[in-house]
């Protein structure tokens, strides 16, 4: 591939780009304020399940696109884990070519409508925007614009189904249908492979379906992408646990030539403190699965979910924010986050923390549960909390929370959601001989995402531990490239 800087230079020099740059002075561009995302009123939305963010109107998107000064050395791109060519898609929006913008996004991102909604932009592209690093101003709203272009394309009814190469008849399979598996499948089917995606659950989409709630990522958006993959020829097999329903060996015997493991980090962790198995204490996975995947809160669905008046959610990540905001929507009077570090150190997307605050979620930072106390029926009624203070920085660079002796106190709760992290799914490593894993149980891969077993590739959370959608998606694509190379070489031999 040609040098990427040269490519950017050449692209940027194209007439349409040069013209649009001249149309508005840089000074004028940088004096514009960042757009606010229109959203449902906090007191309305915390009682419904509809998407909080409403999306940008066309003229607003164009205006926001004008803020981007089309840097010669676009630092934003370096902040993007899949290096979306950001200024190019933004300038396409500025000239009103919204479908063109979506095409640019899709060159590197299989799921832009999803990533525009769930990526931690404030740590990635937007953190590296010229506005952030040089002007000390609010960055160009790259995430909003990504979402805008992707939604525009989807709603236009003009979504182009990507071209698929002549079928080569080579059977390949993914284990898991999360963002890693979906991205892998898209690239493999485009290259002409006979692609099957196996999924353990009764729904396709992984965390995008069972974890991230409707108010942040509507299922219809994920389904749209899945439908497109089906149109391209990808086969989905639900209710199929690889390693149980059939092993990888069984699948090899059925003619599959290579595998991509995208089985995620779906195992919930608990803290192991007294009383944690009381009724009314859920892992975030259970709570969100009941509500999102099983629709437990809806009248005519069979799955039940306990409802709480005083709900405590333990943790400070996206999963914790999703759980606490779900609790609010299910009628909790008091919904609180309990997190052992300070608010600044919470790993959740900034937007989610803001949204939670607006929705009247309480934050008990620098607090850690040490015990749960149950009533006579075994239902949790109190949490014993210990206050924390910040000590020396730890390996993560964040200041380590240290318990304050003698600071314990109790608060009343009737429901608790534990969102303190997840572990890699052990099933595939446990059922494939010779598959190397790390001491954390993640699968070991080389730079092509190939594992120690040559026909097995892996990516996403099963390799990284709990990470992000964009990284999982990027891995899926990289593994597809690696697998294609592997299979071509093998056939030559």
């Amino acid at each position: 591939m040609e040098n990427i800087t040269d490519y950017y230079k050449k692209e940027r020099a194209q007439e349409w780009r040069a013209e649009i740059r001249k149309a508005v002075k840089v000074k004028e561009r940088t004096s514009m304020e960042r757009t606010k995302m229109p959203e449902q009123e906090p007191t309305v939305r915390n009682k419904n399940n509809l998407e909080v963010n409403l999306g940008l109107a066309e003229e607003i998107a164009v205006k926001e696109a004008q803020r981007c000064i089309d840097c010669p050395d676009p630092t934003c791109v370096k902040g993007c884990p899949v290096n979306i060519y950001i200024p190019k898609f933004i300038k396409k929006i500025e000239i009103g070519d919204f479908l063109g913008a979506a095409t640019v996004l899709k060159e590197t991102n299989t799921l832009p409508a999803v990533c525009g909604r769930v990526c931690p932009q404030e740590k990635q592209c937007e953190a590296n925007c010229f506005y952030t690093i040089k002007l000390n101003k609010e960055p160009v709203a790259i995430g909003y614009l990504e979402r805008f272009a992707a939604d525009y394309e989807r709603n236009s009814g003009k979504t182009a189904i990507p071209e698929v190469a002549e079928p080569n008849g080579i059977k390949v399979a993914s284990i898991g249908s999360g963002p890693a598996g979906l991205a892998w499948a898209a690239d493999m089917v485009k290259m002409g492979y006979d692609v099957t995606v196996f999924e353990a659950l009764h729904e396709i989409g992984g965390v995008l379906k069972y974890g991230i709630p409707e108010f942040r990522l509507p299922n219809s958006i994920v389904d749209f992408e899945i439908d497109n993959l089906k149109k391209m020829g990808v086969k989905f097999v639900k209710n199929f646990v690889v390693g149980k329903t059939a092993t990888i060996d069984d699948l090899r015997a059925k003619g599959f030539k290579a595998f991509f493991v995208g089985s995620g980090a779906g195992l919930p962790r608990f803290m192991g403190i007294p009383g944690e198995n009381s009724i009314g204490i859920f892992s975030s996975n259970e709570y969100l699965t009941r509500v999102n995947l099983m629709n437990a809160a809806k009248e005519d669905y069979d799955t039940p979910v306990l409802l709480g008046k005083n709900v405590a959610v333990i943790g400070g990540g996206n999963t914790a924010m999703d759980s606490v905001r779900t609790a609010k929507r299910l009628g909790a009077e008091r919904a609180m986050i309990i997190y052992r570090r300070s608010r600044e150190e919470m790993p959740a997307r900034l937007e989610e923390v803001h949204h939670a605050l607006d929705e009247e979620v309480e934050f008990l930072n620098l607090n850690n549960p040490v015990e749960y106390i149950a009533d006579n029926n075994g239902r949790v009624k109190k949490i014993r909390l210990q206050r924390m203070e910040l000590g020396e920085p730890d390996e993560s660079g964040r200041r380590r929370p240290v318990p304050i002796e003698g600071s314990e106190y109790e608060i009343e709760v009737d429901e608790v959601v534990v969102a303190v992290g997840v572990s890699p799914n052990p099933l595939i490593p446990a059922t494939v001989a010779g598959l190397e894993t790390t001491k954390w149980g993640t699968i070991t891969v080389n730079e092509n995402l190939q594992t120690s077993v040559e026909d097995i590739f892996a990516g996403g959370d099963i390799v990284r531990g709990g990470a992000t959608v964009i990284l999982a998606m990027g891995d899926g694509r990289k593994a597809a490239t690696g697998m294609d190379k592997y299979l071509k070489e093998k056939i030559k031999k």
């Binding site: 353990a200 659950l201 329903t245 009724i279 259970e286 699965t289 099983m294 069979d302 306990l306 099933l427």
Partner: protein, 273 residues
């Protein structure tokens, strides 16, 4: 979609369904279970695979009507389809020639016991089975159980069939009579609790197959968690069989009641519809 190819009624509330599930029929072993879901709005419930026919590509399920989903499932007929079925899940039973095995089953626990004694018998064990239920009509699968047992003792709470008394009495009788090398107990949690206490008195290694509440059945949610030997375990992936003397049955009984009211309400609404 999995088609129902046979249906049989064992008692007022207990039914057997033979269901098409070709891959599961081949890969399943004694102790495995499946999760099924009916329709878009259904819930996921676990059911033990009571038997299978790999050639025909079918598995057997024995279901007791206790609530909405088990009722809906047992109201389906031959030719109807189960929307979702996934398995085999859980760990297979550890099969070995122990010597003499005492199998104690209560109620619908007889169904999951069947494949276990079948495998234990084939491994060379002598099998003594205590088959217990509240009353005669609830004794199920007697004939099939006899096929793999050297001796069958029937116990009913009301004495309407076999001997009168609880499962534990039948077990005590056997234990006082001969040396037992291994015991397996399957039934309602309360029955397993007392059966485990019985064998503990005599230091007989005992396995119990636990029927906790489940959602996914793949280790993803923790709904099925229980305490075994002071440690939290997930029944769906670490079990469903555990050392019965280490299981905290009181906690399990408590957790089983989590949705009791919701479920009772839903069932009543369903029956009145």
């Amino acid at each position: 979609m999995n088609k129902i190819v046979e249906k049989e009624q064992f008692s007022e509330n207990v039914f057997k369904l033979v269901v098409e599930a070709p891959e599961v029929a081949v890969s399943r072993k004694a102790g495995h279970f499946v999760i099924i879901k009916l329709g878009d709005k259904g819930e996921r419930i676990p059911l033990t695979i009571a038997g299978s026919d790999p050639e025909r590509g079918t598995i057997d399920l024995v279901i007791q009507r206790v609530g909405v989903t088990s009722h809906k499932l047992t109201s389906l007929n031959v030719g109807d389809e189960i929307t979702d079925l996934v398995g085999p899940l859980g760990k297979a039973t550890h099969i070995e020639n122990f010597g003499t095995v005492l199998a104690a089953c209560g109620g619908v626990g007889t169904a999951p016991m069947l494949p276990i004694i079948e495998a234990m018998k084939k491994a060379g064990n002598k099998i003594i089975t205590v088959l217990a239920a509240r009353t005669k009509d609830l004794i199920i699968l007697e004939e099939q159980i006899r096929k793999f047992s050297d001796e069958v003792i029937i116990m009913t709470d009301d004495g309407s069939y076999g001997n009168k008394g609880l499962v534990t009495k039948g077990m005590e009788d056997v234990i006082s009579r001969e040396k037992i090398d291994k015991s397996i107990v399957i039934g309602p949690a309360i029955m397993m609790k007392f059966a485990a206490l019985t064998t503990k008195k005599y230091n007989i290694p005992t396995e119990a197959s636990l029927n906790t509440i489940m959602v996914d059945g793949t280790g993803m949610c923790g709904a099925c968690r229980i305490t075994v030997g002071g440690k939290t375990k997930f029944v769906c992936v670490d079990g469903p069989e555990f050392d019965a003397h280490e299981v905290d049955f009181d906690e399990m009984l408590m957790r089983l009641a989590a949705y009791k009211e919701d479920e009772a309400r839903a069932y009543e609404a369903y029956l009145n519809n």
